[in-house]
């Protein structure tokens, strides 16, 4: 009797789905049908080796912004497709079981115009998959700032190949933003990026308590009001 009960529970259709996600969506005010549909999408994504949290976040974002469920669902479905494409790109770089953060970063990069070949290039230049995820995120951010994807990719791969750390690479978008704020035009920004100008320090020196690229306080966590950070390393 108990065995039958156990087997019945194991065979329950709820198994393998995302009751947790459905509940979280419901708490955000999602209608049950929509929560169930997203949960089902997430379960299928997980089965395909894709990270689930980007899908949950996109659904949360849509709900927070007040979009109707039938407007949100296609966006989540499109994200599943992009995550799948991102995973394929990563796997093609001989990473058969990529971590979710790396797949998510690759998908985000694809969405901002970074091509598959460039993704593979960053994966090959980065010392670890974690660094590769950071590199992809930075390249995607540079691309969003208007840097040509090829240059954005090269800025990241050159940094890693010259021994810079992910901490250094993460400074690139702030440095580029400073250049734009100072009125530097895109041609000059591209020139600086191509010559490694976003990384003002030799590898290994641009970390810890050393002088950062921005005008940050020397002690404690930096607080950065807009318009206050001027790059002292601007030539």
């Amino acid at each position: 009797m108990n065995t039958l009960l156990l087997l019945a529970l194991l065979a329950s259709p709820a198994h393998g789905q995302q009751p947790d996600l459905a509940a979280r969506l419901a708490r955000r005010g999602a209608p049950p049908d929509f929560a169930q549909a997203v949960s089902q999408l997430a379960a299928e994504a997980r089965a395909g080796g894709l990270p689930v949290e980007p899908l949950a976040d996109k659904a949360f974002e849509g709900l927070a912004k007040g979009y109707a469920p039938d407007r949100i669902l296609p966006v989540v479905q499109a994200l599943v497709a992009r995550l799948r494409e991102g995973r394929e790109a990563v796997v093609s770089a001989k990473l058969p079981h990529p971590p979710g953060a790396l797949v998510a970063a690759a998908a985000e990069a694809l969405g901002r115009g970074i091509g598959r070949a460039e993704i593979v290039e960053i994966l090959q230049a980065a010392p670890t998959p974690t660094d590769a995820a950071v590199g992809l995120t930075v390249a995607a951010s540079l691309a969003a700032q208007g840097i040509v994807p090829d240059d954005a990719t090269r800025a990241v791969t050159d940094a890693y190949r010259h021994g810079h750390s992910s901490e250094d690479v993460l400074e690139l978008p702030s440095v580029t933003s400073n250049w734009f704020a100072e009125g530097v035009g895109m041609p000059e920004v591209l020139k600086r990026i191509r010559s490694g100008g976003g990384l003002s320090f030799p590898p290994g020196l641009n970390r810890g308590t050393g002088a950062p690229p921005g005008d940050f306080p020397g002690k404690g966590p930096p607080i950065n009001p807009p318009g206050k950070n001027k790059n002292p390393h601007h030539p």
């Binding site: 108990n2 065995t3 009960l5 156990l6 529970l9 194991l10 198994h15 955000r28 997980r46 990270p51 949290e53 980007p54 949950a56 976040d57 949360f60 974002e61 849509g62 927070a64 912004k65 979009y67 949100i72 966006v75 499109a78 994200l79 953060a101 998510a104 985000e108 969405g111 995820a133 950071v134 992809l136 995120t137 930075v138 995607a140 951010s141 969003a144 700032q145 208007g146 901490e167 993460l170 400074e171 690139l172 978008p173 702030s174 440095v175 933003s177 400073n178 734009f180 704020a181 970390r207 950062p212 690229p213 921005g214 966590p221 930096p222 607080i223 950065n224 009001p225 807009p226 950070n229």
Partner: protein, 214 residues
């Protein structure tokens, strides 16, 4: 001759070999008879054969079954097991719980999924000039788009709203929410990107030393 069913306290002391002067003659005679009978019985007792232990153990082992393959036979032999139904139900629940724990996904870290980062947190200050606003808040990947989100406070500069938030190193997408119904991008962000819904999200990449913005 019928012996008494019980002896008096004097009779019990007499049987134990203690001297007593007040024991009734009839009870003394009865005690003497019993003592003689016990002595006679004990005289006929013989010590057990020295091989008794071996004989008994051989028989016990023979009834328990052969020792070769004993564990395997023990496992396969049909047995009657008594189990309380409640115990069986608890065991089934435990198995189910173990299965569920192993099958469910690992708890997701409370970090935005779009951000790949080294583990670090940095304080970042956000500002928005909104002179006509009654309330301003901040929501984004860092709080999983939980609206209304993190409230900004009026600064000493008229019309300026500010808040300082600890953010994980990496990329963050966000927007300001004005008066609970208007989503406003941050003009000082590193970039504005398509949110998938036809609008734009603000993007910053938080480095280990903070964020420099325009």
């Amino acid at each position: 001759m019928t012996e008494p069913r019980a002896f008096s306290s004097d009779g019990q002391r007499y049987l134990d070999g203690e001297p007593t002067e007040t024991l009734a003659p009839a009870e003394r005679a009865s005690a003497d008879r019993l003592t003689r009978a016990v002595t006679a019985y004990a005289a006929n007792l013989r010590a057990p054969d020295a091989r008794l232990d071996r004989v008994v153990m051989r028989r016990v082992l023979a009834e328990a079954g052969p020792t070769h393959g004993g564990a395997w036979r023990w496992l396969l032999a049909p047995r009657m097991v008594r189990v309380r139904p409640a115990v069986l139900a608890i065991a089934a629940a435990a198995v189910l719980l173990l299965w569920w724990v192993s099958a469910r996904p690992a708890a997701a870290p409370l970090v935005p999924a779009t951000a790949a980062r080294v583990p670090d947190t940095v304080l970042v200050r956000f500002e928005l000039s909104a002179p006509d606003a009654h309330e301003v808040s901040l929501a984004g990947s860092f709080n999983r788009w939980e609206a209304p989100g993190i409230p900004l406070r009026r600064s000493s500069v008229p019309g300026l709203w500010t808040v300082t938030v600890p953010l994980a190193v990496g990329e963050q997408q966000y927007l300001f929410l004005v008066d609970g119904n208007r989503w406003i991008p941050d003009p000082t962000a590193h970039a504005q990107v398509d949110d998938g819904f036809g609008r734009r999200n603000s993007v910053i990449v938080v480095g280990p030393r903070g964020v420099a913005r325009s």
